[in-house]
Symmetry: C3
Subunit: 489 residues, 3 copies
């Protein structure tokens, strides 16, 4: 197959060098060793995971081990972890010959990203000025997973068109940019964004789209034969969809306040998601001859409601408010897959493999503005005085901020996340244009064969199918036109 791929190069244009035998191991080793050194210098256990915990308990009058944050957050953490690795990973297996890369490179970049995220988020959010150390606990792990999500979303826009080395670069910059924009949005602007409509989805979506726009391939149609799903690849992708869908209530509630905060965020997300499914299916059915459903919509648009609830889930948006958000997002996202993605590709030269524009960028942005509106509309009557302070964390220097202002800052935060995504993505895109990263040629996109050793008998599948198709047409001709057939030859 190596030969075949080289020949293809001769036919279709200048041969690209997709050999990553030096660059991929080099990047993995250098970055992993850097992580070890930086972890050694900076990262320590926080007091809830340190062996001094029995002393801490006594000093702080904590009556029970169950008050350890581990028991509040670990079940949600594991759900989020499943979303990152199985959810995102299998969602990206839908292409017929790119499933290994979908789930495998997702595994690689999330594993690297979470290490870098522990450091970056630590420096920006929890560096102890006295000791110069970052103290980590279960909440840090959740945040690190969240931080990876931004880069994984960007991968969705790039799927099939980049090399694993490029993805490592996307992740290095993606996590860095994430930590900075998160610091600006959550700390400086003091926005609330528990489920990350703004900081995760809006940022990640536009980051990926900007990179993809810079890396536009005018001849991508040369690998059109691989740009689609097959029956079983769509079933694998549904595994990803369902684990994302089921565990999204945990995603949006994982780092909200103990007690009512986590409880309410989970309920709101659960309700919004249910509503998204019905409107996605309705629009999908309306759009096709004979009302047939399209798996692309079911796999993606059904999730849009949860993306848009990322900011507002912890607020008192009310159950019917959540239903309305899900209702609208299912419609908007499905329309996006039907009309906006083809339009962007044709008129804006934007190739968005997974349609992250419709699932993350737009619902994330709208989620940011929904959060702004719900925050601005918050009243003491609905939340109680204490509830308002808790929910919007109006303490310290923010204790006098009124809620209209808070809404304004939430909206501003959304704009910051868009700006970071677009500008950061454009810069990273230009870095990735250097011809040193081993990216595939236009006719080798969406093909696992470029970066994976494939099982032997699979390598012969495409010609078999081609041959079979040929034989079928042949046979049909024969059947309809003559008595003369292969068997009778």
């Amino acid at each position: 197959m190596g030969n075949c791929c080289e020949r293809a190069g001769n036919f279709f244009g200048p041969q690209k060098n997709t050999n990553v035998r030096v660059s991929l191991p080099a990047v993995c080793f250098v970055w992993q060793i850097a992580m070890i050194i930086l972890f050694g210098v900076f990262i320590r256990y926080d007091k809830e995971s340190d062996a001094h915990w029995p002393e801490t308990k006594r000093e702080e009058n904590i009556t029970s081990d169950v008050e350890n944050d581990f028991y509040f957050r670990y079940p949600s953490f594991q759900d989020v972890h499943v979303m990152i690795f199985v959810g995102f990973g299998y969602l990206m297996t839908f292409l017929k010959r790119y499933s290994y890369s979908g789930v495998g490179f997702n595994f690689l970049i999330a594993s690297f990203g979470l290490q870098w995220a522990l450091l970056m988020q630590g420096w920006f959010h929890s560096l102890d000025p006295a000791t110069g150390k970052i103290y980590i606990g279960v909440e840090s792990l959740i945040n690190a997973d969240f931080c990876c999500a931004g880069s994984l979303i960007a991968y969705g826009a790039l799927l099939g068109k980049v090399s694993p080395v490029q993805l490592m670069v996307v992740t290095l910059f993606g996590v860095t940019l994430f930590a900075v924009e998160e610091y600006i949005i959550l700390d400086l602007l003091h926005c609330r964004d528990a489920g990350g409509s703004m900081v995760i989805h809006c940022f990640g979506g536009y980051y990926g789209l900007a990179i993809s726009w810079v890396l536009y391939r005018p001849n991508l149609h040369q690998s059109k034969r691989l740009h689609g799903s097959i029956y079983h690849s769509d079933l694998f992708a549904m595994i990803g969809t369902l684990f994302l869908w089921m565990f999204w209530p945990s995603f949006n509630s994982a780092i909200t306040d103990h007690g009512d905060g986590q409880h309410r965020a989970a309920i709101n997300t659960y309700i919004a998601l249910a509503s998204s499914v019905l409107t996605s299916i309705a629009i999908s059915s309306m759009s096709q001859k004979r009302g047939k459903l399209d798996m692309v919509h079911i796999q993606n648009a059904s999730l849009a409601g949860a993306v848009a609830m990322g900011t507002a889930a912890e607020f008192m948006i009310t159950p019917y408010g959540s239903l309305i958000v899900g209702f609208c997002m299912g419609i908007i996202s499905t329309f996006g897959y039907l009309f906006v993605t083809p339009f962007l590709e044709k008129h804006f030269k934007l190739q968005d493999t997974c349609g992250v524009h419709n699932l993350h960028a737009v619902p994330g942005m709208l989620g940011g503005f929904i959060g702004a509106i719900v925050a601005a509309a918050a009243t003491e009557e609905v939340y109680s005085k204490e509830g308002l302070i808790n929910t919007f964390d109006l303490e310290g220097k923010f204790k006098d901020r009124d809620l209209g202002t808070q809404g304004g800052f939430q909206a501003a935060g959304t704009c910051v996340s868009i700006a970071f995504g677009l500008i950061g993505g454009a810069i990273v895109g230009f870095i990735l244009k250097f011809p040193i990263w081993g990216d595939p040629a236009d006719d080798n996109c969406f093909d696992d064969e470029t970066y994976w050793e494939l099982p032997e008998d699979e390598e012969t599948v495409p010609p078999v199918l081609e041959y079979n198709n040929h034989m079928i047409h042949k046979q049909q001709d024969i059947r309809s036109e003559s008595n003369f057939s292969v068997e009778q030859s």
Copy 2:
């Protein structure tokens, strides 16, 4: 393929109109909008998910956020959620060409069903007479998922033979009937049924069977070519089986009493399930030439032990009692698949695609009676006085009920669930016979092509297989009979 399907209509009988382009979106939109309005009027956060929680805590002397019901039930809720969407969904992917519909329509009806269930169960169980509102928390979400399970079980009997619009009708009535029978069984008769042997499995099973009986298709053999599994579809189905199997301890313990109730229900279910696997495999092996195992039995009968523990799991049935229940159910359920399903199809005109009779209806019914016996045998010595009151909730107007009587009511409850299933199912079946629902023709059953846009290259698979089979036989002839072969032609 559209053409092909129309032609098929001409060959095999009157053409059915499977176009759901108007009806499916209409149903989705109308019902989703109705949900929004009804949620707006009725549904509110309960005090544990409301922003007033800090006040509530103070008023009720709750010392810690960890006492919020969220932390007692959320991990179990997520396990149940996985069972509903991945467990039931993937269990129904076993057919070779109906996997999209198996997992996709399961997704649709569960998403609608849980919304309607929050309302129906709210009206019957937790409507506050003072305010006219339903207050929801994590336990409501679990109950809504449970309520959907009834309709998903019914889908198992109907798999491949109905349209998505019909399934929405099945769910609307299924959830409604469920809420009523649950009210009668749990509130009026004051039965205990934490894991729903009676209210979920027995009801859902007979509901589906009754519908299927009314919708009997004498010419279903016309789609016999699609009525079976292939190697990989069975592997997808095993994902469903295993997630159901693993998380069933959470299902049966999700809404039992805090503390020992949840703990014991999980242990009992875990033990019963292990035992079911061994006897299912034993009977499966005995039934086949050379002792070969049948995937159908492994996928289904291994779960029967947990269904039958749905009522008794929270009682002091003892670990060996649980083993015995699992032991018997594995045998009964596997025998059901071997003998009862074919018998019912032949003599009672009952087409039960997934064999819900053997996995839900019968084990659910037996589980109800097992619960009755274990309840009647309960003594103060085994439970302690306080334990008896807790376990059987013998408070208020039921505080003087003795346990023999309780056993009698449990048995009566089982009969109520059967009656609701059979009568309700028969009525819904007649509604579904109107020729307006877009159900498939007899020769188009078990075919995703009817309601889904399929990936292009898959549409050619059946002729390819046909062709290959042909060629193989041809080749075998050639090999054995002559030197004359295709290659030599």
Copy 3:
């Protein structure tokens, strides 16, 4: 196909009798009935799962139901449960025609093993001398799952070469040996081994390898055609890998101390795993022409870091220490797959289907020694006095043991586990050589057809592929050499 397989026997050597129609049901029934009797005699609910819990709470001044061990451990238990059934099960579906057996026999032996483990571990660890009963709770369930893991690891070395009856024997002895070595290591030597580097992975790995060595098949190449993966079987296997990878933090923390112990073990494992992924991918890429990745390495070596953290995860190994462990293990394990497994097969006649030597035996052994070093290096400064006592459980007769000695005992424990694995495995291997167990012939290994009823159209796949391959080569000849083609004939 039965005929075909009989014919094959005539061609390739003495016919093996793979009929398990008597033996498999007999073993299942006899052992399951024995379990019922033994459970009846010995097993009872512990006080946290007994209906007397309200009394217990009052007597022991427990203030809240949330102090019930169920809430500390149940989420971790469910994660471990998923690892055992979906993780191990699907990891073993990678072979092209042995996926049913991979996941199905895993299901069978884990279901039997956990029952026997509840008894064996109960007798050795928690038999109440006063009553002669074993009292079980959620921690017993976790330990039972752990105990099965040892036998499932052994199955990895035997995959494809043994009958289900042999696997039941492997499990019966595996669980028994496990309970004894665990008693020696944890109770007599007083080692700490929360995640089971020694007692689970090292023992299980060498147990399987010793059995496989005794059962060496010189003519295994006769089923070489089935000894590989196909595209979709590798995707199924990745489901197993990812669920193992994601939930391993729960595995290593499931039975550690409440509070900081569980918290720290989860963090350390999470970090070590991330690091393993990067070095596995680096070495995999370096080893192949053009830097292509090999799915075998991604599926397996990425997990090695967690295996090696099984002992040390609960210690204060520090986050960067965890990174270093993962870093080294990814390299060692991938090298094992590249060089050691082929070497052992060639020179030591050791056929290790899944490479458990590289994923369990060696990383487990190294994990034991890492634990010994970290224990020996523990100081009061790092742990605090109370922390040291808690972490190493230095109470009762071990309260004066210094930590250097503890390190020595940890190392001794590792040697005990190796010895038990090798000697026990050799004995069991000889038992399995009796010609009564229905194991497959050399040319029938790795073939589901031997023990499973396969879907009809699948049985024709191998000839189809063969034929297609033939035709492709033919066609290529035709294309390149002449104008004469099948179509034109």
